[in-house]
Each structure stands twice: as C-alpha cells, then as structure tokens.
Symmetry: C2
DNA sequence: GGATGCATTGTTAGCGATAACAAGCGCCGC
DNA sequence: GCGGCGCTTGTTATCGCTAACAATGCATCC
C-alpha cells in the first residue's frame, strides 16, 4: 500500500540522513555563515532527496512571526482596489511572501480593527492597509506599533510609511488639457467626498482652474458608479454652457457618455470628457475615453519595498512615496463648439 | 513606562488568572463538553480581562493545520475572477477562516503546482483552485489528496468537489431570447477556446440554435477583451444579414457596440446584442446591455460549504454543484429590422 | 460500605522549528 | 609547547498549544 501520507519529513529526518544535527540543517536553511561548504552540500542533498519543506507554523511559533503579509482592503470589485490587490499579491509572491487578505465591508474603525486583529492572530510579518477613505483614519491611530505597517492612500499625518498616487496632479493634467483645448472652464463630477482619491482629484481640478483664472463651477457630487455619472450627465446635458467635463473615474464617465448621447449631445463635438483610472475598456467607450492612468503595480511595488525594509531592518523608517499618474489621450476631447 | 509590548498573554497566563490549568483554558476555547459552567465563565472572564487571543501558529503546529484557506487563481483583473475572489474571501471570513491568495501568471501545470506548494507550506486547512482553463487540468491530477480541495470551474472528470456555473444554460437563454424576438439566427463572438466558460457559452448558443432549427453561423473567435469585441464588430457590422449577436462577455459587447455605432448600425433597431457577466456598468452601455448574470457569491458560498464539509468531516465527499445563471433583460434587444 | 462510573480537572508529552550555550578542533603567537 | 581564539557542530531549552492519559470527586448501585 501507499505510505505517502505517513508524515511529511521534518528537520530531524533531514539531519539523520545527512548525518548532522537538526540545528545544522536549520543553519543551512537560514543561510548562516560558519557552516562548512561540504556539510552544506550534504544537507542540501538530503533536503532534496526527502523533498523536505520547512514547517512554517513551527518557525512562526518560535520566531513569533510568519512569512505572511496581511492586506486589509475594502471588499470591492472596483477597478482601482481590485487592481491594487492583484498587483500587491504578485509582488509579494515574488519576494517569497504569502498574502492573506482581510477585507472589510465598510472602512470604519471597528471593521478595520477586526481585520487587523485577525491578521495579527496569524502572526503576519507585516501589514498593508489600503485606506483610501477618511473614515479609516481613526483606525490607523490604534494600529499596533510593533508590526511593520504600510498604508496605501491613507492620511499622511497618521501613517509612518505611506504610498499614494498624486491624484491632484492627474486631475490638474486633465483639467489643463481641456483648458488648453479652448474650453472656457471645466465641470467636475466628483467621487464620494470621504475618499482621499476623490478629494485629491477635486482639489487638482480646482487648482488648475484657479491657476488659469477660469471660473470654478459647482462640483457635481457623485459616487464611483456609472449610475451616478449617468445621473450627473442627465443634468449637465441640458446645460448648453457645459462643454467640458472631468469625471472622478471612468465608470462615471461611461454613465455620463450615455446621458449625453441620450440628450443628443455629441462627444467630443459638443462636450469633451475626461475620466480617471484607465480601465481596460475605456478605449472602447463611445467615443474612446481620454483618462488618467494610475500605475498600480508601481504602487504595490513601492509599498512592498517599504514593508520589507521595515521587516528586515527593524528600523521604523518613516518614508512616504508618491507615484505620479499619467494622462492617456484619446478622442473624447476636442475644442469647444463655436457658439458657446 | 508603557509595558504593553512585553509579551502578549499566553494560555498559561489566562489559566493562572482563572485559577485553572492551561488545559482547561484550551477546553473552553475549543468548546469541549465536560467543563463546568462556572469554570467556563471564570475562564471566559480571564480571557476577556487579559485580552487573550490564541496563537494560531502554535495551534497549527500541533494540529498540523491552520485556520487558513488557500486560493489559487489566475492573476487577473477580469470581472469574473476578481468577483469570485472577493466573494470567496468574504464567505471565508464569515466562517472564521483567513484567506491566503496565491495567484499565478498562467494556468499551466507548473505554475499551479508552485502556488499549491506555497500554500501547503502554510499548512492551509483547505485549498480552492479556480481553474477555468483546460490547461489547468493536468495540474489537478497531481493535487495532494490529503488536503481538502474544491475546484471552481474545472474539469468535472478530474475533480472530487467542484462548483461550476451552468454557462450553457445561460447562453441558451440568451440565444432563445433573441430567436423569440424574431431573429432568424444569432451570431456569436466567443471567448478564448481553452476556457471552460467560453466553451460552455458557445455550446449553449449552438444547442439553442439547433433546437430551434436555426442556421448556425460560424463562430467569431475572440478573447475576453473589449478590443476583441471591437474587432469582431468591425467585421459583423458590414454584414447586413447579422441582426443578433451574443458575445461571450460584457466587455466584448462593449467593443462590439462601439464598432456597430461607428458603422452606423443602431442597437437594437438594426442589431440586437446580448453579453454575459452583468458587469456593474452594463446598465450604462449605449444602449443598456441585456446580459446574463452569474451569481458569484452563490458560487463562493457553495464552494466554501463543500470545503468546510471536507475539513470537518474528513469524509472525501465527491459532490459537484452547479449554479444557474439568470438573464438580465435591458434594451439592447429588439425585433429584427423589417427587411432582412 | 466499597466498587463502579461519570463528570471534571490536572499532568505530561510532544508538534517542528530557532536561540543560546557548550564542546571539539585546528591554528596561532609567544 | 601551551593557552587562547575562531570556526564548526552538537545539546538543550523553549515558543504556545492540543492530545492522551491520570487523578480527583461525587453520585449511584448492590
């Protein structure tokens, strides 16, 4: 009969086969100096022969820390968060870490604390908190300070290590592009006001208008959804003075485009539109959407580097990294119609 | 000075405070019978007072299994996989399990095996493999059989426990709706042929046509992307006999809609279109897209139940669950134009 | 009243790794 | 030639928990 399930080999089995003590095996595994090359090779061979793989639980027990990185994120299928999560997971895997995801329904203190606790139970080596919402700030205050922590899109004042995307810069670029095309001013459909991303985009938009001496129209408040873009669009479409709109994300832009189309306002002939995110489909909107791309993999990469530095160094370095977004020009932008 | 970081309390601390042995604490934690109610309360109180939380690593070490579920999925931001992942994570968290994600670049034997190994290192309590691609089949063959395993969208012949969505049924419904609207036949833009989902949708489409005695036009091969839908659309738009198209997903439909619009073919007046997935934005396509919704949370729920059953029972039950999708009717479908 | 049984609690022995310390050995300098 | 130092290896203790077994107390039964 097949005895494969008897027990997976432990360190002592390797030691016995290699004719050394288990401690020497441990040293080989952890790349300690002061192991004779010949011994090292013998141990390596034994490891290979037995197909030995160290027991992470045992290691975690004695060191008090696992090879696991915990991510706390809002449970959402929004393009931004989902991409970020995927990118992070990818980067962590390459660094030899597993990733445990703890998603929360809402970004409030209690939910986040719960997710963090669950991760601490697992003795994670480090924590990544994706906290794009103001309501997450309180939670950041009572983070444990004895575990490496990186915040993504959080409050700079409350985070030691932080990675953000310069939302305002992206919004400024978008707004400036529209102004440069000849539009007198640019309207803005915002995201939820408690999201930093949304606030940053609105700020960038406003500052670009002010810098250009353009009138600042009232913000049209929206959510991230296509639905809210549609609602905003139904209103804006009836206002002939609106010739350029910058939406806080691409989904809103999609809804806006439909509303404009229903009201017979052509894009970009009558109205120019710019979105934010560069979702993969944006190129196939009607018309193809000019938008702002965030480099999520760069964010993830930077975040992981910050985290790994903390994990290895112990030094609680307080770096903050800002990633610049890039404008992707497509055909949804044009000059304003002749008669404004 | 603050001594919070001294050491988090262990079971013996709780035991001392409650005046019992650490084993009794363990019994209380694991809901063993045969603990006097009074003792139980005393222990609970001590746990609360110390803010004690059990060390999972220690438990995993002695039991050989952690409270961690490993998920192997393709690293993608496609709507389907991303939603599934999110839903799964949600369901697992509710059941008190943490979720470790191991994503792979490609769904081949080697990549999957690697991800599985990484999970086994963590001594996961169970594994979920999202294997919607034929190339993943080989990998399923050399899965360890001593760890609970559930396959999502995989090969029924090779999986013990499997959850799938009845893609064919969804495709049939879509096709039948178009036929019922009066179209002579329905064209199909397919997904990548090695994906089970894509194959199932194509099968359902074909069988519905055959059952109705309609002519079966050649499949237009696509990928999941909007881009491929656009390419297909540029071709189909020039063919006046095409009055109804069923695409393998919503993104393709988006690309198709744009191609049709560019060629001056109106939807649904000239051409009716149905997609698959019901992405949140589908309602805001131009026009709103009729599509087929997969209940990802139901899939995740079912998958988790299968997994938990295996984890607790030890009984390697070989159940397979099929989830039925539902048609979501919107305005992209109408009768064919008068002159066909 | 003492054997029997059950409910309850305590004791001991690991799980598989790392850390701290000890020991063996060759080489150096005086 | 001998003490001491550094490289290499082994021994022992320990992390925090669960499993198996032992021990206790009390009610029950004949």
């Amino acid at each position: 009969m097949d005895l494969r399930a008897v027990r997976s080999p432990a360190m002592t089995d390797v030691a016995k086969l290699a004719g050394v003590s288990h401690q020497t095996v441990s040293r080989v595994l952890n790349d300690h100096p002061n192991v004779r090359e010949q011994t090292r090779l013998r141990v390596r061979a034994a490891i290979a022969e037995l197909g030995y793989r160290p027991n992470r639980a045992a290691r975690a027990l004695v060191t008090g820390r696992s090879q696991l990185i915990g991510i706390v994120a809002q449970n959402s299928t929004l393009y931004g968060p989902a991409s970020l999560l995927a990118a992070f997971e990818q980067a962590a895997a390459e660094a030899g870490f597993a990733v445990s995801v703890g998603s929360v329904g809402r970004m409030d203190r209690e939910s986040i604390a719960g997710a963090v606790e669950r991760h601490l139970d697992q003795r994670v080596a480090g924590l990544v908190v994706i906290a794009p919402v103001a309501s997450a700030d309180d939670a950041l205050d009572d983070m444990p300070d004895d575990v490496p922590l990186v915040t993504i899109d959080g409050d700079p004042a409350r985070s030691r290590a932080l990675v953000t995307v310069d939302q305002a810069a992206g919004a400024r670029q978008a707004t400036e592009l529209l102004l440069a095309a000849g539009h007198r001013t640019v309207w803005h459909v915002s995201g939820p006001p408690d999201w930093y991303d949304a606030a940053g985009r609105a700020d960038g938009w406003r500052s670009a208008l002010e810098a250009a001496g353009a009138e600042v129209p009232p913000v049209v408040a929206g959510e991230w959804s296509a639905s809210s873009g549609y609602a905003a669009g139904r209103m804006l479409a009836r206002m002939p003075e609106v010739t350029a709109v910058f939406t806080a994300n691409d989904h809103q832009a999609l809804g806006l485009l439909r509303a404009l189309s229903e009201h017979g306002r052509r894009v970009p002939d009558d109205v120019s539109v710019i979105g934010f995110d560069d979702v993969p489909e944006a190129e196939f909107f009607i018309p193809p959407l000019t938008t702002v791309r965030q480099a999520f993999d760069a964010v993830a990469q930077a975040g992981l580097e910050l985290l790994l530095a903390q994990i290895s160094d112990e030094a609680p370095l307080a770096e903050q990294i800002v990633i610049a977004p890039t404008l992707v020009a497509r055909s949804s932008v044009g000059p304003p119609p002749h008669r404004v």
